[in-house]
């Protein structure tokens, strides 16, 4: 943990707390090697979580692109209507 803490301007207890959260979430595991407790990054659950989020994002982006098209239509319809009303009685 001393090694892990070295690059951060954080106290050892603070680092230890962060590591515990990551361990609980299954993102970091702890080994055993004499006096050391080497931590290992568990990348798989992290990658999985990112993948689900990305699929969710893609699904909604599809919805929102259709919504963009609809909004453009509504804006055009609104403009045309204003034009018609604005020019009422104006015979050019």
């Amino acid at each position: 943990m001393t090694e892990l803490a070295a690059p951060f301007r954080m106290s050892q207890p603070a680092i230890s707390k962060h590591l515990k959260v990551l361990e609980r979430a299954g993102l970091v595991s702890r080994g055993r090697d004499a006096q050391r407790r080497p931590r290992r990054l568990e990348a798989k659950p992290l990658a999985e979580a990112t993948r689900w989020l990305e699929r969710y994002r893609r699904h909604w982006e599809g919805n929102f692109q259709r919504l963009d098209v609809l909004l453009e239509e509504l804006k055009t319809a609104g403009r045309n209507q204003r034009k018609r009303t604005g020019r009422k009685g104006d015979h050019q």
Binding site: R55, F64, R66, L70, E72, L74
Partner: protein, 174 residues
């Protein structure tokens, strides 16, 4: 999350806490228009979950506090998927809070949706946050058919086709 970049088409999805999923997106339209697109059945049927053979076949909205909404999507092969909820807050055209429950239980209990619309220079920033009863419930939704494209497998196919390692079985190319 900040709203520093306000380009249309950039959808940001985040998990602000263990129990939430949040989305932020900018639309090039005034918020009253975006609000209508979310709350008028004839407009919602044009875009919400309408893809690859799916229609929003049932869309009933009783837009008042305590009023209910009901959506049913139907695929051309007859498969259906439905959800419902109750409005808790309605501030046109800036805010809606409602509950949501899916017919197919992907998660326990009901979730609470909060939608906020902020307009600036004719553009609207939409933020939706869904708060689930538990982390498990939220994670269930991320893995649900909804998240992967309203219960169908085309996404899988897209993935396979997009995979750079994909090679046609006959081996004619590459």
């Amino acid at each position: 999350m900040t709203h520093a970049v306000k380009n249309r088409g950039t959808l940001e999805v985040t998990t602000p806490s263990d129990r939430e999923i949040a989305m932020t997106r900018v639309f090039d339209a005034p918020r009253s228009m975006v609000f209508d697109a979310w709350t008028r059945p004839e407009l919602l049927k044009r875009w919400l979950g309408v893809r690859k053979g799916w229609t929003l076949a049932v869309c009933e909205i009783d837009l008042r506090v305590g009023g209910e909404y009901r959506y049913v999507w139907r695929k051309d092969n007859g498969t259906e998927m439905g959800m419902r909820g109750v409005y808790r807050e309605i501030v046109r055209p800036e805010r809606i809070v409602c509950t949501e429950v899916f017919d197919d239980k992907w998660y326990e209990g009901e979730a609470v949706d909060t939608m906020v619309l902020v307009e600036e220079n004719g553009k609207t920033t939409l933020t939706t946050t869904v708060l689930y009863d538990s982390k498990d419930a939220r994670d269930g939704v991320l893995k649900s058919p909804m998240a992967t494209g309203v219960g169908e497998s085309y996404d899988k196919l897209d993935e396979v086709l997009a995979d750079s390692r994909f090679e046609p079985a006959d081996g004619t190319t590459r």
